[in-house]
């Protein structure tokens, strides 16, 4: 078991609820999606899984060990945990703080104590694998949104984590880069990585996940299941504010139905 969280409660600093008694688990090598509308607590949940936020109530287990603030202050535990879990933040500007793309990708492996020669080799490999070697000397500020996302992913892949936490990985990207991100997620999972994706983008869910947790606007898990069942449950999607009731005219007649945006099947 990679993650197991039980009855987790978390509130923001202003006292408003972010997560209410949330329980979930993630198995090794799984592709799991946390589906929820804006403000449902998806990002907070990923922060908790990455040991960046700590719940007021409930327990979080990572790789069978209790994940607490105290444990993460132990250098050995912290280093081992950080090496095994990589987090790609929703906003790349938060994640790209170094002065060049190369430094950014090298930051993680260097902090985690990898030998210098290995760091250099890994940075070159990851940049070339993601097709961004030409950006290596560029300042992150000058990159496009898609390039920033690729660099953010590279900055995590360079230390080869077992688990990838992806927060809204396709948000704000053009269709081509979205497709690239989806392919990247599938390929990484096939290589044995565990992928946990927080998203409200129903168009990618089917492709990037085999199990879904749905968070409601009340910050609770309201469903868990495989994508085929979850995405066909209109009532559930409307309840989670992931689909809406859509009305439009056909000539003079008013026509109304539930409405969601799901990708068409891809065929080779």
């Amino acid at each position: 078991m990679v993650f197991e969280i039980k009855d987790v409660v978390y509130s923001y600093s202003d006292g408003s609820a972010a997560l209410c008694r949330v329980s979930m688990h993630v198995q090794d090598g799984e592709k799991v999606a946390i589906l929820g509308a804006n403000g449902s607590g998806k990002s907070t949940l990923l922060h908790i899984l990455d040991g960046l936020y700590f719940p007021e109530h409930g327990r979080v287990y990572a790789f069978g060990e209790l994940l607490t603030e105290e444990r993460l202050q132990e250098p050995g535990f912290s280093q081992a945990f950080r090496r095994r879990v990589g987090f790609v933040f929703q906003n790349p500007d938060v994640q790209l703080f170094s002065s060049t793309v190369w430094d950014e990708v090298a930051f993680g492996p260097l902090q985690l104590g990898l030998p210098q020669e290995e760091v250099v080799g890994r940075v070159e490999d990851v940049l070339s694998m993601l097709g961004i070697a030409k950006l290596s000397k560029r300042h992150p500020y000058n990159l496009s949104g898609g390039e920033k996302k690729k660099v953010a992913i590279a900055s995590v892949l360079s230390y080869n984590p077992d688990v990838l936490l992806l927060d809204e990985p396709t948000a704000g990207l053009d269709p081509k880069t979205q497709a690239w991100v989806v392919d990247c997620i599938i390929e990484l999972n096939q290589a044995g990585k565990t992928i946990v994706t927080a998203t409200h983008d129903l168009s990618i869910v089917q492709e990037i996940t085999e199990r879904i947790y749905v968070l409601s606007e009340e910050h609770k898990v309201i469903a868990e299941g495989d994508p085929a069942h979850i995405l066909q449950d209109e009532e559930l999607l409307i309840k989670g504010n992931l689909a809406h009731f859509h009305a439009h005219r056909h000539g003079l007649a008013m026509h109304a139905h539930s409405h969601q945006h799901i990708a068409h099947d891809h065929h080779d």
């Binding site: 906003n91 938060v94 703080f97 002065s99 430094d103 009731f245």
Partner: protein
Amino acid sequence: MGNMGTQTLPDWLTKTEQFTLPELQTKRRKTDGFIEKTLAGISTIIEEAVFSQKYASLSGLLQAMDARFKLISVLVLLLAAGFAHSIGLLIALNILALLMALASRITLSFFIRRVWFFIPLYTGIVVFPAIFSFITPGKPLLMVGPAIITEQGVKAAFMIIARVGASVSFAVLLVLTTKWQNLMRALRALYIPQTFILTTEMTYRYIFLLLRIIDDMHLARKSRVLQRTSGSENRSWIVSRIGVLLKKSQGLSEHVYLAMLSRGYTGEARTLQPGRAGIADFGVLSSSLLVLMAVIMLNRY
């Protein structure tokens, strides 16, 4: 027209209101674009400082040097400018800076503008009183009304301006011919604490992002303001935006810190060891040391 959730558009929103654009006035009203000008000015300065690699990318004397040796050489030359006690030596150092700029393929007119535009403005104003007899008594040179300009005063003021000019020239040469990231790496090699360097790097990184946010806020307001706003309205808007920006930057800093923690940062940043220096690096460093020694020796004469 569809509906949005359970709400329908109010009637007024479905009607097109007619407005005709006024014809061009022959007499142009003076526009009050101080916010735009200030924002654009700050953006340009930072962009030039951090992102402009026009001169740093050329192949010249200083560009070819290892940034660490260049930094030390410039520090030595700054010391030389500080030690020089004669006008002749200071002029010689200024000429040396110009020659180094030429050898580094920097356009002289650009270099002189960059160095000498602000010096008269700031240093000149500060040292201006020193030319009068009530600050520097001495041999009268000129009478300006009741005030007397003294030879010693003019000499002292000239020396300060020449010294500042030489120091600024060397510093500008360093910044113009070194890529920002290499300069930061050079500071690391000089055992400047990593936390300080990381903070400096990140400050520059995020100042630009915050400037973009301010610019967007300003443009968003401008696009919705229908009439000229008064000075007090503008000031109160600026003050409120400063507050918003402070809150945004605080939120941003918290998230950046979490992103660093997530990738193994423990409070002590680890970086790659710097590469090896070449013979040319030792050559320029030795020359700088010779200049410093020459200045100290010649001060005696």
